[in-house]
Symmetry: none
Subunit: 215 residues, 4 copies
DNA sequence: TATGAATGAGCCTTCATTCAT
DNA sequence: TATGAATGAAGGCTCATTCAT
């Protein structure tokens, strides 16, 4: 469950960072195209711009690449979300902005999200646990964002509803990447965000607000 | 996009049917446990109860097995949904029953759903298209079920909202299988169904109904 | 320490036996020429007359080949020695015959002995233990052969001397293979056997015998 | 057959000497533990206390390390034996002392002897020849030591017997290292030396001596 | 039809060696 | 001189697929 340190033979940490970035970038593209299993380590090395030998100076096994990719993506999202969390003011408008922002980042990182989403299960149990923990943390950020609105009296939901709604928000984000083949025939990102948010919030807004807003 | 005929060397159609059932059953379990790529054809043959040679009398390639599995699962669900569709009366209550029924079948076939869900991407383009077409059909059934309610005036949604809601219903079903690791800590199936349906319908029910129901 | 069963995927035991014989024969030659580590599994397969895939139907790892080779050689020698043991009559003449016979078989199987001798250490601990146990058994046969002569009063040695002499007999046999490069400049097999036996027995023969024999 | 000069890029001979000593020391331990083939050059460099790049400033190939190790060990033994040779007085007692001394040094350098003994065959033909020549020289020292006793009339042996006995003495020394796993259950070094010498000399001592010693 | 032995392309990984700094 | 990152040939092993029986 702890952050798994991927072993590198190379000592220079800057270099490790740099090479891994190259690696992740190349790997994401490949994984996206052919999936983790159909991608060979040689292809990863080549895409990263170095030799197979060099690749293995920075990882211990092919699975490490997948872990690195997943970790990287989660890290990015979590960072963004964390920020969003701190900006949050407990208003429904704020929640909406956070959601919009989250879906936008997913849209920007489509490939990465899709890869992470489709290949996590190829991780070993260890790595998987760690990654899932991260996912729970992200969902829980949404949970808290919603809860703030509830606390402020802007929306009415009990605890379990808050939790489920957080999951839904999260999954609707992923959806935009894994069901893109179907969704983007009908919606562009803006529409998708607006419609999903509307459907989500319809009916849970406190009467007072609804009235003041509708009329 | 047409239904792909998987070639069998064996002529006796009854036998083909029988053997493929065995095959699918064994494969689902294996794919569930280890994923498509980590499962070997030998294992599939063994799990199906015959030899590797025999396996290849009924398929042409390993991927055929995956296709057969996916096709089988979709077929099952589609059949069920079709039935549901015919029973539908355009009331919100009916829609709720259909959703509940759909989620229940997903719960009953967890393994299969998960497999299909995680491994479809391993299908060749051809097979994938066919399978995705099926998925669209299923979503479209929900679309029609919702539309009937709209037509009847029970709920208020425009076309795009109907479509998105259909997708959501579908994805929330899958969610119950692919996020089970997180969800079933908090909800059992009944709760999940009830809460999701509530969140879904809150606010889109026509005022009249809401009033008559709430007061 | 137990006899290690080397796993074969192929069920037909006769075939396994046959293929392994081919394998061992090819491997011995190669190991002799280049040593275990410098021999590739592909070379072994080729020398055995089948493909690399087939090789791995009969073993699980390269080390299995070495084990099979060692086991085979020991088995051969042990069988021979066992026989010799049963024929033994407790006379010094008998002991001499046994030694001569042992050295002759070593001479006949030079390559095998050398391989076994030089490569055993490459075995895993498990396999090594088993193989060393066999070696102890062989030494102990000589120990018993000598002891019989002692019991019969033909030679005079205490327990520890008997044991050491058994080791010496054994090692002198191996010597004929691993120091052949030096020894066969000076001696042919017959000479070697005679001289070693003479040096060995000189002085340990009971006086009575010596006298009656010498004079 | 000539002493092979191992090429070093570094010019400073003192440094070369120093670095090689470090190298040999580290390598012996590693070779002992894992054998030559399973030891990597990186491990050797690390054990020697410098980097892989530096290692290659003092050798040209991994095999050079093995050669250096073997050469070093032989050199040590030969030096010792040479000394012994000069001290020798042609008495059986003297021979016994030399043997005892030889076996003691083997005991002291167990690891080195074992390594040399098990890994020489990994040397290239060239290096092997050179090293075997050294071994012949060592055996021949024993030959001469024995011959002196024969010349002095202390023991009775013909030329071929002298030669074989020299080989035996040498091999019994090695034996103490390569059969240690079996021998040291029964004997400690002192016993081993005494028993081997006894068995060796029994019966070849000139009658006169035997009588004078026994009675 | 059913079997399972045989095949070999191809994968992941290691490690001796080089070379720019 | 010393370093250690980079290289890529080569090795062990797997597994989808075929085919003779």
């Amino acid at each position: 469950m702890e952050k798994r340190e991927v072993h590198a033979s190379v000592k220079d940490e800057r270099l490790v960072e740099k090479r891994r970035k190259q690696m992740i970038k190349g790997a994401v593209t490949l994984f996206r195209e052919k999936g983790f299993h159909r991608t060979t380590t040689r292809e990863i090395a080549k895409a990263a711009g170095f030799s197979i030998g060099t690749l293995y100076e920075y990882i211990r096994s092919k699975e490490d690449v997948l872990y690195l990719v997943c970790d990287y993506i989660y890290e990015q999202f979590q960072e963004n979300l964390q920020e969003e969390f701190h900006k949050s003011d407990g208003t429904v408008e704020g929640l909406k902005r956070s959601i919009a922002y989250f879906y936008q980042s997913i849209d920007e990182r489509q490939d990465e999200v899709l890869v992470m989403y489709q290949e996590v299960k190829a991780l070993t149990k260890d790595a998987l646990s760690y990654v899932l923990k991260k996912e729970i943390e992200m969902v829980s950020i949404f949970e808290q964002l919603i809860q703030r609105c509830v606390d402020k009296g802007e929306i009415e939901l009990n605890e379990k509803e808050v939790c489920l709604m957080a999951h839904n928000i999260f999954v609707h984000g992923q959806m935009w990447s894994f069901r893109r083949w179907a969704l983007n025939k009908t919606y562009n990102l803006e529409e998708y965000i607006e419609l999903q948010t509307d459907l989500l919030l319809k009916g849970i807004l406190n009467k007072r607000d609804v009235e003041s807003k509708t009329f």
